[in-house]
């Protein structure tokens, strides 16, 4: 078994293997983790979430998120942690604030206007 192990480490000679275990205190925590990493963008990749990325910084962020979950931080606190370091665009949720009202409300308005026009034209 020793020879294959050496072969494998040669195979995988990255600069530093960043992988560590994903250990959780509860099923809840584990579920939270897997949901969170889908919503966080990989800061280094052209596009894609942490869940879909193997990049070193992705792995680091995943470990950090696990650490924060263990420390009892809420989802919001974890997200704030990330945005303060990587910017708002690290979250796939654009947020609900005065700059994004248009994004969230426009579809609703569009639908309502469309349905209104439908009703008006039918009753002509």
């Amino acid at each position: 078994m020793i020879r294959p192990c050496i072969l494998f480490t040669l195979f995988f000679s990255f600069y530093m293997s960043a992988d560590a275990l994903y250990e959780f205190e509860s099923l809840e925590d584990e579920k939270r983790f897997y949901n969170l990493i889908k919503e966080v963008r990989c800061p280094k990749c052209t596009s894609g979430s942490l869940a879909s990325s193997n990049a070193p910084v992705s792995e680091d962020l995943k470990q950090k998120i696990i650490e924060l979950i263990k420390k009892g931080k809420t989802d919001k606190e974890i997200k704030d942690f990330l945005t303060s370091r990587f910017g708002n665009d690290v979250l796939y949720n654009p947020g609900f604030n005065q700059n994004t009202y248009f994004l969230w409300f426009a579809p609703v308005l569009f639908l309502i206007m469309g349905l209104m026009m439908f009703v008006i034209r039918k009753n002509k």
Binding site: Y15, M16, A18, P43, K44, A55, P56, V57, D60, L61, K64, S84, R85, F86, G87
Partner: protein, 176 residues
């Protein structure tokens, strides 16, 4: 009524395409540049050379923090320009990122040390706290706040276009 509808139908696509035209032609900032301000995280990490600790207290005033590593090829390219900056009196703190101590020290010995101090961030913890995604990255700090950062190799063009405007505006490095 019909004329209004007609007008809307025709102008909407035109506006749409004009937006794209402007967007494509816009002189975009370097995509690697970011001017988000944030506080330098509190840290206490070993120096690269010895067992002494470096912390926020050791860094006062204005300086650059440059993230580098011996495994980072682009850092080798950037090194020459950093040495030049250092010679001009710009204080640069090195952040050695996820690098084995020996590899880093050999690299620095071989290519020269442009840094005032080098922080040995083996696990990349401080880097993560600063929003680092890889090497090389360079941060401009003033009074404990990051006021500019650049992801990628800093050369004369980037220095002039990304960092100098802020340096001149905030009049940093004037006291040196």
């Amino acid at each position: 009524m019909k004329i209004i509808l007609r007008a809307i139908l025709i102008t909407l696509p035109i506006l749409f395409f004009t937006f794209f035209y402007l967007y494509i032609n816009e002189d975009k900032y370097y995509p690697g540049a970011d001017f988000r301000k944030f506080e330098m995280p509190i840290f206490k990490i070993n120096s690269l050379y010895d067992e002494s600790n470096i912390s926020n207290n050791d860094l006062k005033g204005a300086y650059l923090v440059n993230v580098w590593a011996s495994w980072c090829i682009t850092c080798r390219v950037e090194h020459g320009f950093l040495s030049k900056l250092s010679n001009e009196g710009i204080p640069i703190i090195g952040l050695n990122y996820k690098d084995k101590k020996d590899d880093a020290i050999s690299w620095i010995t071989k290519f020269g040390d442009p840094y005032e101090l080098i922080i040995h961030d083996l696990k990349g913890e401080l880097a993560l706290d600063m929003g680092v995604t890889g090497a090389p990255e360079t941060f401009l700090l003033h009074n404990g706040n990051v006021i500019a950062q650049y992801r990628g190799e800093v050369n004369k063009m980037i220095w002039n276009d990304v960092f100098m405007p802020i340096i001149e505006k905030e009049e940093i490095f004037n006291n040196d």
